[in-house]
Subunit: 927 residues, 2 copies
């Protein structure tokens, strides 16, 4: 690899190709579709912008734009920075490849003399890239695309290649891609007349004033019959307006398809990948369309119904599906939050009739409780727990059991409805025949690089070890942090208890809880970002073969890490806290001196609820909203400032930038993963612990109403427009949702039976209560402890704190009393309650699963009206063809009465010229 | 509705159309594809048969045959019988329809004078049918089909319409149906080089001598690229041999498609249905092909590998999938039965080391047990239960726990493997682009009839009540029968115990068990047939809209009923028997006098095992094999005899019958439902109670090895050849299998924890055993009973039977001893064991479900090599087209250098005449 110094300066404006936005995977030539979205919403008003939409001739539309960086002498600093990234394994191997091919390096090396000494090896690559780019452009022209270069823009350092796909290329590719296009044939869609439809109409009428005006022009009563585009069947399609037959998103995705296919043979490593380009898509806006999207989402309550229509037309099916999904989810949250609020209100209303809390709060209640910590704490009266007990009832009443069953079924319903909605959208978006390419993805460039370097197997081994370690480490960190917070809580509690200030003491619990929850929240927020990076790093190490598998692995890892991160503290509180306490006289200790935490008397449900609400609300407010609005704005600002600093003199020109130039400063579209991830974590909060926090759906609903608008605004105004991607479903996210819903059933079963006091109450009522009521329950759940059995040094320092000598204290557990043969051993009641709890888990889990399956089975996956329409379309299509056929046949019969049996095969197609049916005019054009 | 007597005799042979095989749904004009399969395997040898394969001209192939019945004067009796069915709502409404149309009834009525007086109304319908038939035939001719009538056959009373689809019709329909056909382009299939492939090769080599010779000609290394057939792209396909381009099954299904579409306008009721025909398919055999199928299935051990190839080619994809599924299932049973046998052998090997049974059998064991029945029974020594205890260990040891986990994972594996196999077959059978028509089925004729009669809603209501009652009744019958068997067992036991004959007494248990199991088996076998009929009747009452929904509902109902039928007695034994016994001194009684059954001391697992094996083996031997071979033979014989009786004089002619005439005597193909149903019930036996009967997979395997051959023989030799149906999956059966596998997990969890003694043993070992061993377990599980606490009249008649005065007897339960404060109340141990049992159920269920999900997630649904091949094919296809395009473009460029931007759209297609690429020759033919 001799690094020759080639630094002959070239007269005139010096251009050196460079690669911007290097992000690890891009520096080896991977096609990263950086997309530009146009912000100016009314192209008609701005002739400068209008100009940017077409080639110089003002005729040919720009369907796609590729960008690359040109190195300028004035910007050597930024060049150097990016060159640091380019000088890596890939370029080295590339050079090797070129050398092997016997091609000498490009003969006219150029470079800025000032930077040549340090950048000499880079210059070489720059030239190399330029050659590869030229070859690539040639290949694109061979494919029929028309290109126009624009390196002399007002944006410094960036070159643009505008691409126009002429009509015949569009047709050809549409045929290859089997795009379904609307035919001339129109039929009427029968409006369904069921009860559901009537309700729908009523709802629509009621919300009429809220609808945006644009809504009205959607003529949904007729539908064009769709058929896979085929040039031989052009007469079927309405080609009167060729410019609008393929809309801008289709044109862009057609060009993208061609780009994907075009190879760069000089770069030996590339098998189907483009090469040294970063592609920037740039698609002509429909006039007013983004405005429409934006305003309809901002002001229309049933946003998704409006949304998925223009969204899909503008952004493509993949983003359309996201909004449709988000819309359905938000819609489904409405009944869930309604029921949740009712359940909560039921709790509020019945709090005064709740016998256990009444007993605790009863003024004559005189139960002495054992101290909550060693030495520092004192015996206390059960009455003191009155407030907590009453608050607990809000979340721990029979209605919560009903609510968690309801929410499990709700989740099943949601899944089913989504399947149906997806099916409906597939039909309405003419995707029914489209086979997803999931199985036939291009191998990723890094994968091929690894294969090329023959290092895959070796690296794989070391990486596997690394990956395993990382997993262990990452999960370890999460648990360590949870443990840390626990320790914090224990030690602070103990420390504060020891304080002599009585007001401090009384506020101990509340303070500790709140600070601990906030610390947890902060840790969760920080770790969330860290884990995102870790997941990406782990996935890169794994070197998945295709982009799709890369994405799926990344999503899965991120999901697992973020989920563990968000829910570990909550799971600790729900299932472990207060279980491993031991009993008076033989408490369990961590680090010899810290006693494990107990829950307040009302059970851990109350604390679980506090933790849940703080985590959920905090996450939503800070992460979803603050970050989502703030960070893109910040990034845009930084980009803007950077570019400004680079070229002060062009400041005044910026106002008349080409539209793709203004879009260049927008943040590139980074995929839907963060949006979905956020929502699925929220779905976890809504379903997983819903038994302990019935208000979760309400908070989720409020968040989503904002979220759907923020997302729409972000896509329209703050991100480059992405390449329209076709998609039939939401992919891995559906499986993750299903997984969360499944886990939710079992977690809710455990929360109800183990965290709440529901089962002990039932057992008491039906097995032990003398009169079948709840009276005496509080007494029944508490065991006796003889204070003389305290270990030395653990007894309270001030035994006379309550004003009398305490001989027996009580603690919440089912154990034998001190006077039995086997003192302090778990009692028969303990086993009976445990059996009841376990039985409840089994019954709850299986009943809910069965009901979910029944819901799944009862709701057909394909809506009835859609299946009818598909059937109708099929019949219409065959009729259409048969009519045509018969016309042809008659014609043939009249022309060739006896053509011989085996010989007339091609005739019907080739010779039809004057076919007597409605489409004969256009059809005749073909020949 | 004037019923004019029209009975003018017609000279010559009198023919009256009639409908055969009326089965409820057929008499209103439903298209029932009765299929004929040709038995003669070598058509070359038999010129008579050869003749039957072609039209009279000997050129045009017969692709399909329609049959209808001709009434002959000699057969008036059979006519009258069938006319009873035809004179029903449908024909009446039809007449009404005709009258409304203003068409007078046919003017030349004919009929046999002798029978006219009684058959006059029928004659009218006969004529009506003939007219409709003629219209239908005309419509078929309009669609391009060529017909040849053959009413003058040697088979009396049957008319045949032979249908030939000429080349252009085949092409047209293949295009409509989007059939994927092999193109000329051939590519090499890369043999996978993984470890699996190597093992496969080894296995193949090892079984080389077993392969049939025909195996060799399968050149699997190259594959033709497939593409949806299109007449415009004919040059892509290898049309050198037009007669074999579309094989016989494809031709038949093409004709069937046309028939389905053809309407009979005169019959107003028909919306897309054929009319008064019974269609009989008849497809020309590939020479030797069925022989191949038959012999390869009979002698080749890995039958399915050979099978699905010719099967699909001969019977179509639907039956091909069945055999592929059955083959995979059988293959998967091999490891399952191996592990099952090992588990069983482990039980046999460890029986002598099993401490509990050793303790029971120990000669110094002196435990006195309470009597097993009131008065008649005596105290007995636990030693007597030694045999049962030892036998129980065979099925109740730790290995069974492992085995049921294994089988749950096995089921998940099987599902996953089937998904992969299905995907592979879809690819190999070129179905990847095929969209199933499940959503767009034709409405069933009965449904339309109901709609027409406007009686649907009213009938629906009454039917709903009827259906509800029937369900209740049917399920009630099942439970009643189970209860009856229980009563039988109880009463017989009591009666036999009372007998004075000591040998009778000692054999009591065995006799009762065996007879009860046999009674159960007989009842199951009888009810199985009854339930099949009930399910069909219920489904008919429901009037489902489409055929598919009819089939699915029928399958579901049959499945539920047969499943309940087969498993209710087993579930009773597993979970209820021995639970509701009560305790000595307060036993539970049915009908005041019969004590509920107890299990033998070894637990109910032993009895469960006996019941399972008898039911499973009996069902398989009698129902599957005996019935499946016997009944078709019998039916064929009856059909043969019937036809013989009708026409003695034609006996000698039968040897030279047309091939379709011989096939006419075969049983029509009744769908795959019985075959699948049988297998899914078997799958239930293999998975549901596998914890108690590890040999079930072995028996299933043995049965299936026979079954696969019997089925193949039946389809080839005993049934008419069905219309080839395309199918991508096995439909509802997959869901049912999943359901069974899910239920299996929970049932096995309960069997292990509640039926077996696994959990009590564990609890004893870890909680109560003084030395951590199992010594003392038997004693620990038994409670004491003071004989003075017996209710009056319930104590044994002969208290000194054992030779000493019994004061305390023991019984198997966890209860407090008589000397405790709360005698005979369930003890703490009971609750502890119960909690452990429930905990085990939760852990088992969730662990196994999680593991199944992981298996599901780890095994990709699409095999890697297939996804690679699909990708490769896509690239090849685009390359092929692009080559072609470029050729065209070059040509255009040279011909029309400046055509104007908007005008050259159709040119590339229409004007290509001399395209310089490989396919130019064929392609040029088009123009």
């Amino acid at each position: 690899m001799e690094k020759n110094e080639r630094s002959t300066p070239i007269p005139g404006k010096e251009k050196e190709v460079d690669i911007i936005n290097i992000k690890g995977i891009e520096d080896i030539g991977y096609v990263q579709p950086d997309s530009i979205l146009l912000n100016s919403l009314t192209p008609e008003e701005n002739t400068q912008c209008q100009h940017g939409l077409y080639f110089q001739d003002g005729e040919r539309r720009v369907d796609y734009i590729l960008t690359y960086h040109i190195k300028k002498p004035s910007s050597s600093r930024s060049n150097r920075q990016s060159s640091r990234f380019t000088d890596n394994a890939f370029t080295r191997s590339l050079r090797r490849g070129t050398a092997r091919l016997g091609r000498p390096p490009p003969p006219q090396p150029r470079g800025d003399p000032e930077v040549a000494s340090q950048d000499h090896s880079m210059d070489y690559h720059e030239d190399d890239k330029r050659y590869r780019r030229e070859e690539f452009e040639g290949n694109l022209r061979d494919m029929g695309l028309e290109l126009e270069k624009d390196e002399d823009t007002k944006t410094p350092g960036v070159g643009f290649v505008k691409i126009h796909a002429p009509w015949h290329v569009l047709c050809r590719e549409a045929e290859f891609m089997k795009l379904k296009m609307p035919t001339k044939k129109v039929y009427e869609v029968k409006q369904c007349s069921g009860v559901g439809a009537k309700i729908n109409t009523l709802v629509n009428k009621a919300t009429e004033p809220l609808h945006p005006n644009v809504e009205e022009n959607r003529g949904q009563h007729v539908k064009h019959l769709s058929y896979a585009f085929s040039r031989e069947k052009q007469h079927l399609f309405d080609l009167s307006d060729r410019d609008s037959f393929f809309d801008s998103k289709t044109r862009a995705s057609i060009v993208f398809e061609v780009l994907k296919r075009t190879k760069c043979t000089k770069a030996k490593y590339s098998m189907g990948n483009v090469g040294p380009y970063f592609l920037m898509q740039r698609v002509v806006h429909h006039a007013g369309s983004p405005l429409y999207v934006l305003y309809s989402t901002l002001f229309y309550p049933k946003a998704e119904i409006v949304l998925f229509f223009p969204c899909r037309k503008y952004f493509g099916e993949k983003i359309g599906l996201y909004f449709a999904w988000l819309g359905l989810y938000t819609q489904m949250l409405i009944p869930a939050s309604l029921v949740g609020v009712i359940v909560f209100l039921y709790g509020c209303a019945t709090v005064d009739n709740n016998i256990p809390s009444m007993e605790i709060c009863h003024p004559r209640n005189n139960i002495t409780m054992c101290p909550l910590c060693d030495r520092a704490c004192n015996y206390w009266k059960l009455k003191e727990a009155c407030g907590t007990a009453r608050a607990s009832h809000l979340f721990d009443n029979p209605a919560t059991v009903f609510f968690s069953i309801f929410m499990a079924l709700w989740a099943a319903m949601f899944m089913e409805h989504w399947k149906r909605r997806q099916m409906r959208l597939n039909y309405e978006w003419d995707l029914t025949g489209f086979e997803e390419e999931e199985v036939s993805d291009h191998p990723r460039a890094e994968y091929e690089l690894c294969v090329m370097q023959k290092s895959l197997k070796k690296e794989h081994k070391t990486h596997k070890v690394l990956i395993a370690y990382s997993w262990v480490f990452t999960i370890g960190v999460t648990f360590a942090i949870v443990f840390g917070v626990i320790l914090y809580r224990i030690s602070i509690t103990a420390a504060l208890h020891m304080s002599n200030n009585p007001t401090t003491r009384s506020n101990v619990r509340l303070m500790v809880k709140t600070t601990a929850a906030i610390i947890n929240l902060v840790v969760i927020l920080i770790l969330d970002e860290v884990y995102g990076a870790v997941a990406r790093w782990l996935t890169v190490l794994e070197v998945p073969k295709t982009d799709r598998s890369f994405e799926e692995r990344l999503i899965f890892k991120t999901f697992v890490l973020k989920f563990v991160n968000a829910f570990t503290p909550i799971i600790y509180i729900a299932f472990f806290r207060g279980r491993l306490v031991g009993r008076p006289g033989s408490y369990l200790y961590v680090f010899e001196s810290y006693r494990m935490e107990e829950c307040a008397h009302g059970g851990c449900l109350m604390e679980l609820c506090i933790q849940l609400s703080i985590t959920m609300l905090g996450k939503q407010l800070i992460q979803n909203n603050l970050f989502e609005i703030g960070i893109p704005k910040l990034k845009k600002l930084i980009r803007y400032i950077k570019s400004k600093r680079r070229s002060f003199q062009e400041e005044e020109r910026e106002k008349k930038l080409q539209r793709y130039e203004t879009d260049h400063f927008l943040e590139p579209f980074a995929g839907l993963t963060p949006e979905y991830m956020e929502m699925i974590i929220q779905f976890g909060f809504v379903t997983l612990f819903v038994a302990s926090f019935p208000l979760a759906p309400l908070f989720a609903l409020l968040n989503n109403i904002i979220e759907i608008r923020l997302d729409a605004k972000k896509f329209v105004a703050e991100l480059r427009r992405p390449v329209a991607a076709r998609a039939k479903d939401i992919g891995i996210w559906y499986n993750l949702l299903r997984g969360v819903a499944k886990v939710a059933v079992i977690i809710n079963a455990f929360v109800i039976s183990f965290t709440s006091d529901f089962i002990p109450r039932l057992v008491y009522q039906y097995m032990y209560s003398p009169d079948g009521s709840m009276h005496g329950f509080v007494n029944h759940t508490m065991s006796y402890f003889n204070v003389s059995d305290f270990q030395d040094g653990k007894e309270p320092m001030d035994p006379h704190h309550l004003g009398y000598q305490v001989e027996m204290c009580r603690y919440k557990d089912y154990r034998e009393p001190p006077w039995s043969n086997t003192p302090y051993v778990v009692s028969k009641e303990f086993w009976a309650v445990l059996a009841a709890r376990l039985a409840f888990v089994i019954v709850f889990q299986n009943v809910v699963m069965l009901m979910s399956d029944i819901v799944d089975w009862l709701i057909p996956d394909i809506p009835k009206d859609i299946s009818l329409q598909i059937h109708k379309e099929k019949i219409l299509m065959v009729e259409l063809f048969m009519k045509e056929e018969q016309g042809k046949m008659q014609f043939i019969d009249s022309m060739t009465p006896c053509d011989g049996k085996g010989r007339n095969n091609h005739a019907p197609i080739a010779r039809s010229r004057s076919i007597p049916h409605t489409h004969s005019h256009t059809h005749a054009n073909n020949f």
